[in-house]
């Protein structure tokens, strides 16, 4: 698992990367009431806004962690946005992205580094 400063986690399966938000971020957000997901086949660049999480309190964006193409989204979140809070590292994943450059993953934080980041 790799982590971004924006509290996303990335799990690699070859060149397909599953992206979600960390338990820390989910806890900060509180009750998630709506999730807007990107279209499949959208080509994104690092830092692009690709999804929106609406909690009772506020809207937050999810940014593309790396350059690539969205290849799958978690449609279960549309019907049950609470999955983000209930199981952020599992059933609450957001999208899968096929990345251009696997080496770019090396620039992201390890779990230990992320834990230091939020400490």
């Amino acid at each position: 698992m790799k982590y971004t400063e924006e509290h996303e986690w990335l799990r690699a399966d070859g060149e397909i990367i599953t992206v979600g938000i960390t338990a820390f971020a989910a806890e900060q957000l509180g009750d998630v009431v709506f999730v807007e997901l990107p279209e499949v086949e959208t080509v994104v660049a690092t830092g692009d806004e690709v999804a929106v999480i609406e909690s009772v309190k506020a809207a937050s964006e999810i940014l593309a962690p790396l350059n690539g193409e969205i290849v799958e989204v978690n449609a279960a979140l549309i019907d049950n946005p609470a999955l983000v809070s209930e199981d952020p590292l599992g059933a609450g994943w957001f999208f899968k992205i096929k990345i251009d450059d696997l080496a770019a993953l090396d620039g992201l934080m390890s779990e230990d580094e992320y834990n230091d980041h939020i400490a």
Binding site: D31, V33, F34, V56
Partner: protein, 371 residues
């Protein structure tokens, strides 16, 4: 984010931390945004049981007459399109300070406590309000900021039973009654649409009193997040968002707060700042109106989202979010009066997309005051 350590602390700060509050800066204070239960549960608990809110950041002011109460009432009426003179001892009323352009400087609660008035104003406005009141009322009253008292709100259908067990006599109060019980200044009011009370008490007693309330299993501590979603469901204005110096009381749908005596033809018509505009709008209707909106689908429309027609912006959302009671997004905003009728379809522009919404009657949840 502002440094939490430079913010002013509420009298209950230690208790909030002990209760596991997530703190955030608000109006210069470090305030609990939510407790471990979370906004949704806090909101629903308040609607079905009782919630305790720390609103000590708000301004409390006494108007102590130099002569008689009627003179102060008339001077206060020169600042608000509201009937102060007819407010009976032991009663409270909602008021609005207006400016010369007919905009709203602040909204407030004022109570007649027999030999003086007690006023509660918004936290963000309190310094300017006190200066404004002092500038205009000091000939007839001492304007005394209350700086050593906390303010708590106990809201919800079980608030009455909870408070009566601790402060006997409070159950007999009606909506908008005020009374003094020893050190406690209590009003039967609040800003959630629920039955409930606001309790002003000396700062050094606040912690023990709040703990006594929280010891009752019917009471949960509630943060600012749920306070906001509760008042939104109740269709109430949040100063600086739904009302400000550019919105008139008529546009804001607050005409119920302007008693007949202050309107054209009334016993003391006009004579308040912005009377020309406000009385004109009362008679002929304003150009725009605050309305309730039900967005289609699940995406909340929040403050700042534009309302559009044929590519042109015609209005704006001023408050919006998710309604825990209604389990759907709700919003309020301003639209041109011809678009303000219940059932009118509107289009919001959300993140570059057209998001349909329908004008609906306010409040979103019926209020349950004990009149």
């Amino acid at each position: 984010m502002a440094d939490l350590n430079t913010l002013r602390l509420l009298p209950l700060d230690a208790l909030h931390q002990e209760c596991g509050a997530k703190m955030c800066p608000f109006a210069g204070y470090r305030m609990p945004i939510n407790f471990p239960a979370g906004v949704m549960k806090e909101h629903l608990h308040t609607r079905s049981h009782a919630g305790l809110f720390d609103v000590s950041h708000m301004g409390q002011v006494l108007l102590q007459p130099k002569g008689d109460m009627a003179t102060v009432a008339l001077a206060f009426e020169a600042l608000m399109p509201v009937d102060v003179l007819a407010l009976q001892p032991g009663r409270q009323r909602y008021g609005l300070l207006t400016n010369a352009a007919g905009g709203i400087l602040d909204d407030l609660m004022f109570a007649n406590r027999g030999d003086h008035y007690y006023v509660v104003v918004n936290a963000a406005c309190k310094e300017t309000d006190i200066a404004h009141l002092t500038a205009h009322l000091s000939d007839v009253a001492d304007v005394i900021p209350v700086t050593d008292r906390a303010l708590l709100a106990l809201q919800g259908p079980e608030a009455e039973a909870v408070l009566e067990a601790i402060v006997p006599g409070t159950a007999a109060m009606r909506f908008m009654d005020v009374a003094i019980f020893g050190d406690l200044w209590i009003s039967r009011s609040g800003y959630t649409g629920e039955d409930g009370y606001e309790i002003s008490l000396p700062e050094d007693l606040a912690d023990a009193f709040a703990r006594k309330l929280l010891a009752d299993p019917r009471v949960l501590p509630i943060g600012l997040g749920a306070r906001d979603s509760l008042r939104l469901e109740a269709g109430m204005c949040l100063y600086g968002h739904d009302i400000d110096t550019t919105t008139s009381p008529v546009e804001a749908g607050l005409t119920w707060a302007i008693q007949k005596s202050r309107r054209t033809g009334g016993a003391r018509a006009g004579g308040f700042p912005g009377a020309a505009r406000i009385l004109h709008e009362l008679e002929h209707g304003p150009a725009r109106l605050r309305v309730g909106l039900l967005p289609e689908g699940r995406a909340p429309l929040r403050e700042g989202v534009p309302l559009v027609e044929d590519g042109a912006v015609i209005g704006q959302i001023t408050s919006g979010g998710f309604s825990p009671s209604g389990e759907r997004p709700i919003a309020m905003g301003y639209v041109p009066t011809p678009h303000a009728a219940e059932g009118t379809p509107l289009t919001a522009e959300l993140r570059g997309r057209a998001a349909p919404a329908t004008v609906t009657a306010l409040p979103f949840q019926p209020n349950r005051y004990k009149r």
